[in-house]
Symmetry: C2
Subunit: 408 residues, 2 copies
């Protein structure tokens, strides 16, 4: 008897099972966390730790799961962008810039310091610093979105700062990687940074007006759901462009969404469809983060203390750095911004993976950074929720996602 | 300068570009085909031929694209299932059975005959026959769905027959594959067939009542959009089970949708969200079919004549076989059912790939079957559209997909 040859899918069976397990575990944990009044995001990441290689080993991380995770976070940031008008980011521009810069400098210095204190070499310490730098805005965006808080001023500062943070973080990692190779190509690094800034400004500033203008033409297309399809194409296209000019794909996706936000604000059907795709893919992103953490690594007490030290420093440095940048908003809001920037998620993991690839950090440091990345991601959401104002469902805060949530 | 390491996505850039090109090409061709009043499906498959290795070579078939295609067709059949009540299939059960059986026997015999006439050996001829057997219901379902015709009696006969066709086709391929190995394990084959039948009956008969009963409990869950998420989980789960018991994954997805059809008929939000996921993924399924066809293979005239002969026979045998099975519905409806069963799509391609893997068919026969698979898929939709009654948008024919189509 041949194995399911007729269906031609025998190699897909394992994948379907993995996706099924990930989705069930994510939603089960999300349900539990909602019931104990904690953010579902945390539950879904914990689901990843539990079903991943560290505990039950039911699902192994794989290239294809990574792709699903990546498409998931791209669609998430696209959806977040759709709810943000570019002008609202421009209004907080200077503050976001300050938050972004200070939120980079302090964690880098602090990470460098801790690593040196624990006996790390010069280059290892620079890598640990770099790993502490970049906020993973996906997690924060997910929490803010599910609380209906995306249009608050703190949310806009966080999102703006995350874009700046990403560009600066890229520069730091480039420098650090170059140092570990023994040479630094400043021209190339500055060139990339300028391209990135140019990309963000062009899409952010011109995009919105342009798409608002051509929206009627898009809606006249004969294909079904034309605007939804146009949006998906723009999202994938700008994600690719962002990667191509060496920024994170999610920045492109976020800008694509933001550029369409005005053109689609009276198009709840488009928002509903986009929401459906996102909701399908995002759990793979969250579960995949959790799956990276192998809890067995922490049988070694020295790893545990190192991991805890790095994590505490990572949290404190981000809150203080970003909080300082936002201090003019008042103490409470400044702390909210700082907490919102805490999650490092998959970005910290990637930096650690590069460090191990270049053989400049060892397995213990890798495990510690991994722990930091997941822990900061788990710790922040409850605080974001706690610190956030009770979501009043005022008219301007109700978006299609909320509507669908309550009815569907 | 490191390539996009910071984003950790360098290996994803190529994939994002590929998905972007596939989506743009699909929607561009869909738009053109809608404008010349032809089914968008045909345009999207042609888009695949054009951007694929055969013509422009912009996108190469890959494992990951195949996975996207597979998830796409799974979600498509899940959506189709959502619009079909199980009772409506039971009502056409006997007729669907007859259509399914005759639609298997005639194409197999005809394919075997043509291959023998063209000088093929015994086993090669059996493989050609097997490749002509299985209808790819995805294409037909897509066309019927976009015309809003899923609730017509002809549509229900087609969908019911396609399930039966799939189970019988599986048996034939198992037998043929076993013969090429020199032995046949009848016990295993019959065991698989019985399991498949049991699965279909249990899910179809009991599922609907069960899910209608537990629907209120699902809706009381605390997670957002609980029914949508439950539906996705059931869809992936039953797709896996179907593969596991050696039926096509799409049968599981279709049954999952059908089992939820009654529970969700007053839940347009759920339908809208499901529709969003489907619309994102289905183009990859269609474009991927086109990408399999390398037009360069047809520089050889003997391949062309062989391919045309197989294609003509494949079309005629399905229409006559299925038409005979449905003759009691009247001539016009019988022809509609026959035409609806014509597309072989990815199923024919898979059989050919197995044949080449077992070295029982040669490159020419492979090219001819590939041509047949794509040609039958391209030829059928315009006829389905032409033969179908003008879609009156009567109340019972309006589903969320149509509503969203027109507004979104």
């Amino acid at each position: 008897m041949m194995p399911a040859v007729f269906a031609g899918n025998s190699e897909h069976a394992d994948l379907l099972l993995a996706l099924f397990i990930m989705l069930v575990a994510a939603k089960l944990m999300a349900e539990i966390f909602e019931r104990i009044n904690q953010p579902a995001v945390v539950g879904e990441i914990l689901a990843g730790i539990i079903i991943g290689p560290g505990v039950l080993g039911w699902v192994q991380p794989s290239y294809i799961i990574k792709v699903f995770a990546e498409i998931g976070v791209i669609l998430l940031l696209f959806n977040v962008g759709l709810e943000i008008r570019p002008i609202s980011i421009v209004r907080v521009g200077k503050r976001a810039m300050l938050v972004g810069v200070l939120g980079i400098v302090l964690p880098f210095v602090a990470g460098y310091g801790v690593s040196r204190l624990w006996g790390g070499g010069e280059i290892e310490a620079m890598f640990i610093g770099a790993a502490l730098v970049a906020t993973s805005v996906g997690i924060t965006a997910r929490v803010l979105g599910s609380l209906g808080l995306l249009n608050r001023s703190t949310s806009r500062v966080i999102l703006g700062a995350a874009v700046i943070d990403d560009i600066l973080g890229l520069m730091i990692l480039s420098v650090v990687s170059s140092v570990s190779h023994g040479s630094i190509n400043y021209v190339a690094i500055i060139g990339t940074a300028l391209t990135a800034v140019f990309f963000v400004i062009v899409v952010g500033a011109v995009g919105s007006r342009f798409f608002k203008k051509i929206a009627p033409a898009i809606n006249r297309l004969k294909i079904s759901k034309p605007f939804f399809k146009f949006g998906l194409i723009l999202c994938l296209g700008l994600s690719f462009v962002a990667l191509y000019i060496e920024v994170a794909a999610i920045i492109g996706a976020f800008l694509a969404g933001m550029a369409l936000s005005e053109a689609t604000e009276n198009n709840p059907q488009m928002r509903g469809l986009t929401n459906g795709v996102m909701e399908f893919m995002v759990p793979f992103f969250l579960v995949n983060i959790g799956m990276q953490l192998d809890v067995k690594l922490f049988g070694d007490l020295s790893v545990v203390t190192y991991a805890l030290a790095i994590t505490v420093v990572a949290i404190a440095a981000k809150i203080i750095g970003c909080g300082l940048g936002a201090y003019r908003m008042g103490f409470k809001k400044a702390i909210q911004v700082g907490v919102g920037m805490v999650p490092r998620g998959e970005v910290g993991i990637v930096v650690a993976q590069i460090g191990i690839g270049l053989a400049v950090i060892n397995q213990k440091a890798f495990a510690a950074v991994l722990f930091m990345a997941v822990a900061t991601t788990l710790v922040a959401p409850p605080f974001i929720k706690m610190l956030g104002p009770k979501p009043k469902k005022a008219k301007e805060d109700i978006h299609i996602s909320d509507v669908v949530t309550r009815i569907g």
